[in-house]
């Protein structure tokens, strides 16, 4: 049985197709298709990634020191993650194994800012309407504008959390989106004391709001026991962890667990990732399907991102987030938490960890140091940078020739790793909530809620929130249009 295919889906004849194209309130463009029979039983449910980006190809032939700034254009939400993953690879290409303490701390601070703003954006702007108003609630209200109207405190906290994360990025890279900062062997400018003081002036609020976001998720999940059954998916988990098993975003070893929590491997050097991971290509999606080589194609798929990281780590180094992690794991009964919607809860625990870490780093004397670059060593022809991006483990792998020109690139972006899991989640929700029922917009949103939990970044590109048109068509087996529902860019629904 292929991924996304429901039992009994042996033939596609006499089936009708429903497409959610594009999926809304996610980063980028994808679609969900359902194949139903005349009794509305689901025969196939798939998440399609319909964009072709081609970055791996067109950075070939470019100088390697350009790479962080080419690849950060993959995304308008997490460009910093791409810049940093590429920069780690570029350091290796430049023969640098160890940065100065200030450069390392600046990169870590930058990444915490990135993680905070991305997590805030996803939970407050994109996801909170589902939880605050209900999955099947009025779509006219189920958006950030509706949250601003009905829950202005929550909405404004989210907006300000994101803004703060972006200010951290601006302080280090010169811009909130697509700035510069990393150079081979270090960073291009120090953090000024005026920026440090300005960021410190607001950190108390940021900590408080981050903690409240965790508490909001705790209330949501304890109040809605049905969430525990929504697309719940026992899976393997992959992430970086620190040397002591702690939650780690910037640099660590690869750790993977089975669904029962048993370790598959731990502290694997990520430069050996090709011995651990394989990628399968399927005809109907531009996104590859990675799997753990050790477990094979069928059993080796895994999840990455906040849920994987919180499940995988043994401890969080900051006190408030660690306390939140313990409550989270207690909610799961001591084992791993497989509840797909718990991604959001885990995401806010990470946001809290970011806020605490930013505070610690801003008090670190090294953070305003001016020793930013180390001498380059003997240049190498291969560099591999791995980082925990907001959406999960991000792999950047480059080969260059003796002149410094990129000859080969391989990127495994976080959302790619969650491809199989997102398809499984769509299939689960389709069978659980839609099978045999008359399809409504509210029910279709359940499918989007399942995908949204992963915070997928499908195009890795900036887009206008709330202006994504949506068209769902019901077509019978003969291809005749039965029903059409269109959401226009102004948010109006028309048949």
């Amino acid at each position: 049985m292929k991924a996304g295919q429901s039992p009994g889906a042996s033939s596609k004849t006499n089936l009708r197709r429903i497409a959610i194209d594009p999926i809304s309130r996610i980063e980028g463009h994808g679609k969900i298709t359902l194949l139903l029979d005349s009794d509305n039983h689901i025969h196939e449910a798939r998440l399609h990634i319909v964009e072709f980006r081609g970055f791996e190809k067109f950075i070939q032939g470019r100088p390697y020191w350009d790479v962080p700034f080419f690849v950060q254009r993959l995304c308008g939400i997490c460009p910093v993650s791409h810049q940093l993953a590429a920069a780690k690879a570029v350091d290796q290409l430049a023969g640098v194994d160890q940065l100065t303490p200030t450069a390392t701390q600046l990169r870590r601070l930058l990444h915490f800012g990135q993680m905070l703003q991305s997590h805030a954006l996803h939970f407050f702007h994109l996801t909170s309407p589902d939880f605050l108003f209900g999955f099947g609630s009025d779509p006219m209200q189920r958006n950030i504008a509706g949250v601003l109207e009905k829950h202005p405190d929550i909405a404004m906290q989210g907006i300000k959390l994101r803004k703060y994360g972006q200010q951290v990025i601006e302080a280090i890279t010169g811009k909130r989106v697509h700035g510069t900062g990393t150079i081979p062997g270090g960073m291009n400018k120090p953090l000024t004391t005026s920026w440090r003081d300005a960021l410190l002036a607001d950190i108390a609020d940021i900590l408080q709001w981050s903690e409240q976001a965790v508490q909001l998720n705790e209330r949501i999940h304890t109040a809605h026991s049905e969430h525990a059954d929504f697309a719940t998916l026992p899976s393997n988990y992959l992430s970086l962890t620190g040397g002591k098993g702690e939650l780690e975003f910037y640099h660590g070893g690869l750790r993977a667990r089975y669904p029962d929590g048993v370790m598959i491997f731990d502290q694997c050097d990520y430069v050996d990732y090709q011995q651990i991971l394989r990628e399968e290509v399927r005809a109907w999606s531009y996104m590859k399907f990675p799997y753990l080589q050790q477990l094979g194609i069928k059993q080796g798929w895994y999840r990455v991102g906040p849920l994987a990281r919180i499940n995988n780590c043994d401890v969080i180094s900051t006190s408030l987030a660690e306390a939140a992690r313990r409550r989270f794991m207690a909610f799961g009964g001591g084992g791993l938490v497989h509840n797909t919607l718990a991604y959001h809860w885990a995401r806010m625990i990470e946001a809290l960890h970011c806020a605490e870490s930013i505070q610690h780093l801003l008090h670190d004397p090294d953070i305003t140091g001016t020793d930013l670059v180390v001498e380059k060593g003997d240049r190498r022809n291969e560099g591999i940078g791995v980082i925990e991006a907001p959406r999960g483990t991000l792999f950047h792998h480059y080969q260059v020739n003796n002149e410094g020109i990129v000859t080969k690139a391989n990127l495994i972006v976080s959302t790619t790793s969650n491809n199989q899991a997102m398809n499984e989640s769509v299939r689960l929700v389709a069978n659980q909530y839609l099978d045999g029922k008359e399809i409504t917009e509210g029910l279709l949103n359940h499918l989007e809620v399942a995908v949204r939990a992963y915070d997928p970044c499908l195009s890795c590109a900036t887009h206008a929130l709330g202006k994504m048109p949506l068209q769902v068509e019901l077509i019978d087996a003969e291809g005749a249009l039965i029903h059409r529902l269109v959401k226009h860019s102004d948010g109006q629904f028309k048949t």
């Binding site: 100088p63 350009d66 254009r73 510069t180 990393t182 150079i183 081979p184 291009n188 002149e403 410094g404």
Partner: protein, 251 residues
């Protein structure tokens, strides 16, 4: 004595109505820069012989259009430069330069230090207007310190003149004509790595765009501290220094 006669006697011309004194032998561009009047340009460089390549400095005088960088200043000239009509043409020239190459500012390390980009901002260029050529031109990274990205070359000829007239090396040349014109390296292999270009040569540091760049530095200039983050091109140009001339190597 009338105004005209006085101007002739005093080596004076006017640019956009402002009296400008010049010295015999000066071009209109030299006289304008000396008087702190900005005429847009990309291929001019104080101290290097002019080439008249980019045509951005075209001004109007006595009913004619002339390139200010290669036209001798003459007493009594009434020159019009900063006019809406000329600036529209300059913007179109800049747009054409953009689409003839691959000028991807967001991913170019010259961004913020690039004269072409700064010119676009100065002239209010908000889009390219013309269809992109999307040329595929060879990138030469064979030199240990300098790389040559021909897809960003605007054929300004500055590297050619700097290498020949200041560095005394003659490393670069423009080959081909019209749409086939392209920058070449004067070595048997055509490779920069086989030339005697040094990282400190003026030719290695004069490129107004991202065509001739130092290798392995990356985005070393922080945003906010780049040349055109500080001042627009019309102000920077008035302070551009004159390079020290070296003795030509005649061997």
């Amino acid at each position: 004595m009338g105004y005209h006669a006085m101007a002739i006697n005093q080596n004076t011309l006017t640019i956009d109505g402002k009296d400008v004194h010049f010295e015999q032998g000066q071009t209109i561009m030299d006289a304008a820069l000396a008087a702190k009047i900005y005429i847009p340009y990309l291929c001019h460089y104080p101290g290097l012989p002019p080439s008249g390549n980019c045509r951005l400095c075209v001004v109007e005088t006595n009913g004619k259009s002339v390139a200010a960088c290669i036209t001798q200043a003459q007493a009594g000239q009434r020159i019009h430069s900063n006019t809406p009509e000329l600036n529209v043409v300059r913007k179109m020239i800049t747009q054409m330069l953009f689409v003839e190459g691959n000028h991807i500012c967001p991913a170019c390390e010259k961004s913020g230090n690039c004269k072409l980009q700064a010119m676009g901002y100065y002239l209010g260029m908000h889009e390219e207007h013309f269809h992109h050529f999307n040329p595929r031109r060879a990138l030469d990274a064979s030199h240990p310190a300098i790389f040559l990205d021909r897809s960003r070359c605007i054929l300004c000829d500055l590297c050619v003149r700097a290498s020949r007239d200041v560095d005394g090396k003659n490393v670069f040349a423009i080959a081909g004509r019209g749409a086939d014109a392209h920058l070449i390296v004067n070595t048997d292999s055509g490779k920069l790595g086989d030339s005697n270009l040094d990282r400190n040569d003026l030719a290695a540091n004069i490129c107004p765009v991202g065509a001739i760049m130092h290798k392995e530095r990356g985005y070393v200039s922080p945003i906010g501290q780049r040349i055109y983050d500080q001042q627009p091109i019309n102000e920077i140009a008035l302070g551009e220094h004159v390079p020290e001339h070296k003795e030509r190597d005649h061997d």
